[in-house]
Symmetry: C2
Subunit: 271 residues, 2 copies
């Protein structure tokens, strides 16, 4: 038991990473600048290349640097984030009562993303599944009830990378009166999900969005063309109708380096 418990120095690769992070934070290394090579780091720090590599890997994992594979890694420039605003919910509702021509022109299905939709592959897949415990709980229906599952996906034909992805669930009982709603070849539907529900007499009262984040798996990184150190924002969305029923639920994923959500909460006036 030392009277002065000598603090152990942090591992070398942590020291190297911290030093580089500091130099980035101070602006000595600007976005786009190249970092020292592994060999350079190893000699200046008097450590092995393996330790230098660990430092670089750590910074990549934290989203601060990128590159490698044949050229020196460089400081990552923060990506321009597309804002997804909750006002689109009201806009989509307003559109429902407009004529089809206008709905089609304002080609905003529920899943637009500030990118010209013409340049993307769009794919919608429908199937019907039996509600598991989670879905049954969400909709307040019996487990085993039929639920329509719709998967929406857009991808960049040039790179093959996924651009947008969501699964949406609707109890079949709610929409069976309009058979065309079960037909995936009708997608993209002018006016989006709110108009689809409108055709069976459902009016939405409010939207609930629940947001959290997780790290992507190896497959996700491939699929989305992500860089290391980019979390995924996960959204579970509920559409609640004027009778307080959950009539639709969707789950979607957005890479955090290119997305921010903006939610405006109006407050009642004192007056």
């Amino acid at each position: 038991m030392d009277p002065q418990p000598t603090t152990v120095p942090p591992p070398v690769h942590i020291q190297i990473a911290d030093d580089l992070r500091l130099r980035i934070a101070r602006g000595e290394l600007a976005p786009g600048d190249e970092l020292p090579t592994l060999r350079q780091l190893a000699t200046t720090w008097g450590c092995s290349i393996g330790s230098a590599r660990a430092a670089i890997a750590l910074l990549k994992q934290q989203g601060l640097i990128t590159g490698g594979r044949g050229r020196a890694p460089h400081v990552r420039a923060p990506m321009r984030r597309v804002v997804r605003d909750n006002s689109r919910h009201q806009q989509e509702k307003d559109l429902v009562l407009r004529p089809e021509e206008e709905r089609r022109r304002t080609g905003t299905t529920e899943m637009d993303m500030g990118v010209p939709i013409d340049e993307l592959h769009f794919r919608a897949t429908y199937d019907r599944i039996e509600a598991d415990a989670d879905l049954a709980d969400v909709f307040g229906i019996d487990p085993g009830s039929e639920v329509l599952r719709r998967i929406y996906e857009t991808s960049d034909p040039a790179t093959g990378h996924r651009h947008l992805w969501s699964v949406s669930y609707i109890p079949v009982a709610l929409i069976s009166s309009n058979a065309t709603l079960l037909d995936e070849t009708r997608e993209p539907w002018p006016g989006g999900t709110q108009h689809q529900l409108y055709t069976v007499g459902i009016e939405i009262d409010r939207m609930v969005d629940e947001v959290t984040a997780t790290m992507p798996t190896t497959a996700d990184v491939q699929l989305w063309g992500l860089e290391q150190g980019v979390p995924l924002l996960r959204v579970r969305h509920l559409s609640i109708d004027i009778h307080d029923r959950v009539v639709e639920m969707s789950e979607s994923i957005y890479p955090a380096d290119r997305t921010t959500f903006r939610f405006t909460t109006p407050l009642t006036r004192w007056s």
Copy 2:
């Protein structure tokens, strides 16, 4: 140019990680279960311990497993997430006009988090800074104008880990008529920021929350007591008054493994 371009097999550590992930997804390995040791993985896959370690590191980075350091790593049980609901904005506003006794009792400063506040260290730090370009832009004031910066922090005295953190900015010009608002020893202020602003005649019209996520730095991991593979949710919050002025801006951070945000968007009725 091969007629059949033989696809190169993925690196060993990726194969191992994918196999383990699959076994977790299928439920063969339940949350809390121990994974094979590095030595076991190395022998069953016929690779070195280093490669096995890389596989384990990858899964940790993805937030799927945890542990190590003297005992075998185990499958991570998903943490219970605390919901932060945007209805608290309205609740805080309603509280402003209530008597002080009630405001004090409903000890919800803007920064509560489903944890008994008595068991946490609370610290508020005030200082005044000159607006940089970003702050000047947010508030629509001249760069160099004085801005009050308040840092709120709670931490768990047992572990020393940070529990909650936010910085809040208010232009000094808006609140200089009430000198007590510049005094950090008055925190926690009953009724929170909205009541503070009320004392200088400001009524909030709406709240804007912008959410995204990033990966924590090494220091963040220490500070918050995070496990590997946990992103940070970052929120920029704007308070906008009834004259459409941004009167307060705050930035806060929440570990994603214990937080979900819930935003309810009311829609106008067709009637």
